[in-house]
């Protein structure tokens, strides 16, 4: 009898597990999982969509899944999100005139540091 209960318990776990989002193929699902890691939850200080269960994140994930099934490209989906929830909703911001400092300043600082050590040695 006990073994039957254990058996039933395992069976019930399997029968209640289901996908939250539906995709035509595995490639789409991989794209979805990558996208929700790259997009920030609009309500969280620092957390990706995949880490968030906030209502707005749930909505956004459903929307992204929809857009993937409509054959939208990753860039179109990212544009959709960033035009609505701001540039900072992308963990990897686009390279444009507003983000030059963000992308190139590490190299500038590296150069300055190298110059500093070069002159100090002299």
């Amino acid at each position: 009898m006990r073994y039957l209960f254990i058996f039933l318990a395992f069976l019930s776990i399997n029968s209640s597990s289901d996908n939250l989002y539906y995709f035509e193929d595995e490639n789409d699902e991989t794209r979805f999982n990558n996208l929700i890691k790259d997009i920030r939850c609009p309500k969280c200080t620092s957390g990706s969509l995949s880490s968030s269960n906030a209502p707005i994140s749930e909505d956004l994930k459903i929307k992204i899944a929809e857009m993937i099934n409509e054959n939208k490209t990753d860039q179109e989906i990212k544009d959709y999100v960033s035009s609505r929830f701001g540039q900072d909703s992308l963990y990897e911001p686009d390279l444009n005139k507003n983000t030059y400092i963000l992308w190139y300043s590490p190299f500038v600082f590296l150069l300055l540091a190298l110059l500093f050590f070069f002159f100090r040695r002299q």
């Binding site: 309500k43 209502p55 707005i56 909505d59 956004l60 929307k63 035009s83 609505r84 500093f116 002159f119």
Partner: protein, 173 residues
Amino acid sequence: MNILLKLIVLIVPAIFIFLFFIILTNEDVYPGADYDQFELPDFELKDLDDSKRISIDFIEGDYVLNVWASWCITCIVEHPYLMNLSKTGVPVIGLNYKDEKQDAIVWLKKYGNPYQTILHDYKGNLALDLGVTGAPETFLINNGEIVAHYQGEVNDRIWNDVFMPIIKDRKMF
């Protein structure tokens, strides 16, 4: 050369202190304000009062779109200001966000209704397309184009500092 290097130790922190002083003491910054302009997205929602279908062409001209819900505490705080605003002749359209119809109607009976029309966005589809993250949020719409978006409570100060310059600039209402 050596003196210059030693001075850097003083100059660099001084620059940072100066920058932080300017940025942090600037009182004109409204973190909830967003002036991105974009077309009002397509929608078809039901009217909260009579369940008539409302599409994008239903509302014309300039208006204020206020996102609210009966579960939203800040909306109660904001509410008297919206009542005054609609009394002065500014058309205010409500977007009831993720709310049960009955709760919303009871809430309006209790506090009063400042809205000309209320769209019932039960699933939050239009709100998501607008970039709404919660309630209350307020949009300024100029001939089908969104010209300002504010996240949070609208009061006299926000209205005058965030919305008024754009209203004057575009000669709205």
